[in-house]
Amino acid sequence: MTGNFYPLLKWIILPPLAGFVLNGGIGKRFLGEKGGGWLGAAAILLAFIFSFLCFSDLLNLPAGHRLLRDTLFNWISAGSFSIDFALRFDPLSAVMALVVTGVSFLIHVYSIGYMRGDKGFNRYFSYLNLFVFFMLILVLADNPILMFVGWEGVGLCSYLLIGFWYEDEKNAAAGKKAFITNRVGDAGFLIGLMLLSYLLARQGVSGLDFETLALNINLLDGGTVLGFGAPTVIGLLLFFGATGKSAQFPLYIWLPDAMAGPTPVSALIHAATMVTAGVYMLARMSFLYALAPRALEVVLVTGVFTALLGAVIAALQSDIKKVLAYSTISQIGYMFMAAGTGAYAAGIFHLTTHAFFKALLFLAAGSVIHGMAGEQEMFRMGGLSKEMRFTFALTAVGWLAISGIPPLAGFYSKDLVLEHVYAHGVPVLWYAGLATAGLTAYYVTRLLALTFLGGKNSETHAHESPLLMTIPMAALAALALTGGWLGSKYLLAFLDPASARAEISPEAFRLTMISVITALAGVASGFFFAIPAISDALARRLSIAREVVYNKFYVDEIYAFAVIRPLKRLADKVCFGFLDAGLIDGLLVNGAARLTYRTGAVLRNLQTGNAQGYALTFTGGLILLLYWIM
């Protein structure tokens, strides 16, 4: 076993678990609102501190040997399978653990303010702690099976938190949709792992931890499955799982509905952490994708397509959270673009900056919704910059960061991703990426303009949010301001010591200029089209196209029509109606019973009840018998 045994690792995951148990078990009765909220936040802070301690110890190791491991116990062991409950801490996990715990802590604090007075307060914090626990398992797991525990666990927490206000049927349904869509992806993920484990077992490799997999993955090279290269098939199956978790095409449909949950949840789970798990997984399995260039092509194309699709839909949404949801889908597309070109470090870099500015934007949206007493429709907002000065300033930071204006965070990471796509050599993809960047700048500007600028569109008097909410936002804003510069200086080298940033493309400066100009153009058009008269005129002109885009290209309806309805009909009519109740139970089982019964009904006619008749038959039988004997 390589890597250093490092028992501190388990302490990263234990505080959130303890927080979950305490808040879930005795929270309502003994902790109350104050205790429960701060307990939840403190648990995450503790996890952050432990992550930081581990991180600093990791930094003390030489660059090529940064790996800490902690095996808690042997989890599943049967036949040739032996799966340990083991954690690993390498630069990739370290970045993820820090981002997850750091952003989570801020959002926990924010939530104390946001959820004040909710009757499910303790339940909320216990779920949130449980989520962080599973997310940490996901990023710290030392084998894909344990990773799958975190993978499904965060899905569960997402389900619970989306449907947090369960009394509304719609919220519960959105949670269910998220869980089931994720499960569709997870099924692909599982089959991919099954195939991987099977093919390696045939070569005599039974270990499933990442170290063993990476060392032996070359055994798969050249092997084929159904005519495709084995690594390609496995890579695609795993990526299918990632499209579910990370809301990429074709499984992105759950994320917009997931906005039914409380807004801090959207910020934490559906923007900063869980939805980026797919990118993390690809980076973690990069040794496999190195053998599967065709799978990476698919990842790249999917990323580009989803990024563009998300941006187009986001540009027309009117619900502030829906805009951000589609924006998230689009931004994760960028991360997959990076992964698809093999630039995992760039993907993780964008993941990190995105966690900062998207969490910020979501929290700001939450602050607005909080201030507007639950209003989410942007056309009923407007002019809030006066009433919510602080929120407005912080949103502006997020706006500039996501738009890709230098020197804010989004600029560095998005630019880096686009450079990699450009260097990959397919111009169409780069153009699409660039268009997405322009659209991104456009829709965020539109969001900002509709919400904070212009005249007021509603009677509601908005109020600024309490400090408990604005301070975490300020912290995130600081990160969104500086994260890009810091990241490009330290993070990339930490994640991937081998490759330096400078040598990607000789035309880097030109590319940067182009993308900055695109971003500025997007911002300008955002302001331009936010002017009511212009937007109305345009809407009339393009009403059909607008309708299609606004309804998300009717993808939900298509799935319902092409997949869910036929399946349900198959279940109801064919399987249950025809096969089960009709053929098997009706015809065969009860049919046999009926046949017996009817035969009896015919034969009973022989029993006339006339004793002399019986006697006559008896005599006749006797005579026949005598005749036969003699």
């Binding site: 879930g24 049967a78 036949g79 399978f81 099976i145 369960y166 509304d168 092997g223």
Partner: protein, 518 residues
């Protein structure tokens, strides 16, 4: 202590029956005494089973706590008992579920209470006997004897169509077992012809050799009897009726233990007796299992009745288990055996949950509920955990078994196990759908607003189940260790050396690699 250890199995088997007889002497008006006595006896049986569990040596592959006393020696019928890891887990499951089932019946059974608890205890004797018998005749006696109390449980204390359901259950099972009896007699006589002595010992049955064609026929009759019990698609239609009509305790025992007997029959009898035939049947069994997974899930999805839905989900779960045992791969078989326990726990718990609702509202229809989370938060949390266990969420018990079955059987039947993964999706579809409609949403029925949350008695039987659901999910190692030796015996009994997987022995097989490369 020594006397107890030497006769531990006999004590465990006869104690419930003795208890049932003792119950008959209690005046029927003293219902409190009857309940407590029944609970006490089953608890005592559980204590003795715990002794068995901890005294069991996981490293020893042989039958432990073996008993062999002549019963009808002229006919080769002996009182032979013994346990290996598989039997051990099944005995533990039975011993664990019976007290919970009894506890769950305290309120819901109001008529003929004495007879009810006596039947339940007699049933326990039958089930324990089936899992411990090492004599085929003895096994058959227990197998059939078990039907009678179950028949009465459904037929007397069941729902509206109880007589239909009980009769269906009985005839279905009888059909299989009568054929099996014919096969048993055939093997018994063949053994006499080959070795000159009469014997019903399981070991002697396994030692009797047959030409392949005869084996196929014999194996088919055994396989049919067990397939009905499992139940495998398409022999499953007795199950939903029996479950729906049975009282809660009956459903718990039926799903928790009785279904396991079918799989146990494959593991203990059908496969070791006729290994060659079993090998040629295995792909078909696996196929039926996977059809069961998909089909059971789909049909479960279209049920408006909670209990029926859970019953069909059992068909799906048991299908996966059959896939595991038909793969003849150690991990898959271990997973299947563990999954038998898991299914007993989670489906048993689901039936208890439906029972809790039924006791309050006297309806099992999903549409009659909704928004229960508000009135019954504790219940909703318990229900959530149980449901997640049933759909195999990692970290809970269902996942461990599912993982081992799927990953293990993928090595034997890649296509079939890949198809079985669809169960992962479908189970989420129907379970979450049901949970959402029952627990979430607005309260649509006025009478659901004031439903009381779980009371102490209900917590008392749900908590042990939850404890094991979580324990097996996080730390299944002790249970897997107990069955390891037995599973290896089972797998090696079937596998000819050359058909073993290259990966199993860790050796490098050039041929396999070449095939892969091509």
């Amino acid at each position: 202590m020594q006397f107890i250890d030497a006769n531990l199995l006999t004590i465990i088997i006869t104690l419930p029956l003795a208890g049932a007889l003792a119950l008959l002497f209690v005046p029927k008006e003293k219902t409190g005494l009857i309940k407590n006595l029944a609970l006490g006896i089953s608890a005592a049986a559980l204590l003795f089973s715990l002794r068995l569990y901890f005294a069991f040596d996981a490293a020893d592959a042989a039958m432990q706590f073996a008993v062999n006393k002549p019963w009808l020696p002229d006919w080769g019928i002996n009182y032979r008992l013994g346990v290996d890891g598989i039997s051990l887990l099944m005995l533990m499951l039975t011993a664990f579920l019976t007290p919970l089932a009894i506890l769950a019946s305290f309120n819901s059974i109001q008529e003929h209470q004495k007879a009810f608890y006596a039947s339940l205890l007699a049933l326990q004797t039958g089930m324990m006997g089936v899992f411990a018998a090492m004599d085929v005749f003895l096994f058959y006696v227990f197998w059939e004897a078990m039907l009678i109390p179950m028949y009465f449980l459904i037929g007397v204390w069941g729902g509206h169509r109880r007589v239909y359901a009980a009769l269906k259950f009985f005839i279905y099972t009888m059909l299989g077992s009568v054929l099996m009896l014919a096969a048993i007699i055939f093997v018994y006589l063949a053994h006499k012809a080959q070795f000159g002595t009469y014997s019903f010992a399981l070991a002697d049955f396994c030692g009797t050799a047959f030409p392949l064609k005869t084996q196929l026929w014999l194996c088919a009759t055994f396989a049919l009897a067990f397939a009905i019990k499992v139940p495998l698609f398409p022999f499953h239609t007795w199950l939903p009726d029996a479950h729906v009509e049975a009282p809660t305790a009956g459903s718990v025992i039926l799903a928790g233990v009785l279904l396991k007997m079918g799989v146990y029959g494959y593991l203990r009898f059908a496969v070791p007796m006729f290994p060659a035939a079993a090998q040629s049947f295995a792909p078909w069994l696996a196929l039926l299992g996977v059809i069961g997974v998909v089909y059971g899930s789909l049909v479960a999805w279209s049920q408006p009745d909670m209990k029926k839905m859970v019953a069909y989900s059992s068909v799906a779960h048991m299908g996966l288990i059959v896939l595991g045992i038909a793969a003849f791969e150690p991990a898959a078989v271990s997973g299947a055996v563990l999954q038998m326990v898991n299914h007993g726990l989670s489906t048993g718990a689901l039936f208890l949950i439906v029972g809790i609702l039924y006791e309050r509202r006297h309806t099992r229809m999903i549409e009659d509920y909704g928004g229960l989370a508000k009135a019954m938060p504790g219940f909703s949390a318990v229900f959530m955990i149980v449901m997640l266990s049933s759909i195999g969420l990692p970290g809970l018990n269902g996942f461990v078994g599912e993982f081992l079955v799927l990953f293990g059987s993928f090595r034997t039947y890649p296509w079939l196990s890949a198809a079985a993964v669809s169960g992962v999706i479908l189970s989420a579809v129907y379970m979450l759908g049901m949970y959402q409609r029952v627990v979430f949403g607005p309260v649509t029925h006025e009478e659901n607003k004031r439903l009381p949350d779980l009371n102490a008695r209900e917590w008392a039987y749900m908590l042990p189940l939850l404890a094991f659901i979580i324990l097996i999910g996080i730390y299944p190692a002790p249970f897997l260790r107990k069955i390891d030796a037995a599973v290896r015996t089972y797998v090696t009994a079937v596998q000819k050396p050359e058909s073993a997987l290259a990966g199993e022995r860790g050796s490098h097989k050039p041929q396999a690699t070449n095939k892969e490369r091509r």
